[in-house]
Symmetry: C2
Subunit: 183 residues, 2 copies
DNA sequence: TAGGGATGTCAACAAGTGTTGACGACTCCT
DNA sequence: AGGAGTCGTCAACACTTGTTGACATCCCTA
């Protein structure tokens, strides 16, 4: 007996998936409600509007487990989460792609920037704690976002078509350069 | 006596600037024509429509000078073009941002992907010519796009607020790791 | 001077957008 | 049984979107 999914949850799920792939303004309310099999008016009722639904999906992002690891296992964990193939259920690249696909948006850009700044860059720098913590954190994020972008969005051979093992080696090389940076 | 700018050129200029910052579907025809000080109907007349104007700006991108350099100067040149501050006239990060801002678009995504694949990744791999050319090319692009993304779009401290000299050192470290990658 | 092609202006169109309010069906508590 | 609260459905709204066609204006040529 599968437990019934509330329509609020249906909307969150469909919204997350569509916002992730196509970006905020390329997704209409009717696209979401159509995918969720729900009436279009319910977005405004439950979330106060399209914007509210987007912010809900943003607030709903799973925590980045790299931030929960100790300093030693940080690199391995960061690499691992990006070397995995895409899994729609418990995907860790997903949150990054959602952020990636919506920075450009004139409406949501500020919220995305704030989220990345406060939720990713700042805690990462604090965890590193070294002298060049801020630089290294920014560089690591650049590497991770860049790899995700090249793989998922640009789909360029040499990164998009690699096995998890091969990817691990490639990402490790870049991430290590970021984390060991000396001016 | 400044030579008069044709309205076709005005449209190309305004279109490029807006598409670059906000992405294809976040820019309306009236936005562009408003910025250019031109009637909205002229986009359809000159370019056959909004889509035609976008493709024109894409075809109008300046060539990436890294592809014209020899193998030795490649790293230095790639780093240099990304360490410069933003210059609206002869900016080399600009083309990358235009691509970056529009991969997600459901209409233009395919064209962008094809452009990056054929215009950047493939010639770059050919120029490298080594055994892991394809991997290294993809990794270099990941690094460069990632840095541009973190700087311009996410505006994260540690990369966004650095002088050209500091940036050069940081990007070089990452690009070297990409180009010297051994499996 | 007449004609024609390019160039710009204006109003309007059909389609799609997010959102709202009225209405009905349902469940739960007293 | 009655009433209240929740949930979903439907039609309609005001607005923006890209595009089109008719008209006016200019400039060059025959």
């Amino acid at each position: 007996m599968t437990k019934p999914i509330s329509t609020k949850e249906k909307l969150l799920q469909a919204g997350r998936e569509l916002f992730w792939t196509r970006g905020y303004s390329n997704v209409s309310v009717r696209d979401i409600t159509g995918a969720a099999g729900v009436d279009a008016a319910l977005v405004s009722r439950y979330f106060g509007g399209k914007q509210g639904l987007f912010e809900a999906t943003l607030a709903d992002l799973p925590p980045w487990d790299v931030l929960a690891s100790d300093r030693e296992g940080l690199l391995a964990k960061a690499v691992e989460s990006f070397a995995q193939p895409y899994d729609p259920q418990t995907d860790l690249v997903n949150p990054f792609m959602l952020l990636l696909a919506n920075v450009i948006d004139p409406v949501m850009g500020d919220k995305i920037r704030a989220f990345v700044q406060q939720g990713l860059a700042a805690p990462l720098a604090e965890k590193l704690g070294s002298a060049q913590a801020q630089e290294r954190a920014a560089m690591l994020l650049a590497v991770l976002f860049g790899v995700a972008l090249i793989r998922k969005n640009f789909q360029i051979q040499g990164l998009a078509d690699k096995s998890p093992e091969a990817l691990r080696a490639q990402i490790t090389a870049l991430a290590r350069a970021a984390l060991e940076f000396e001016p």
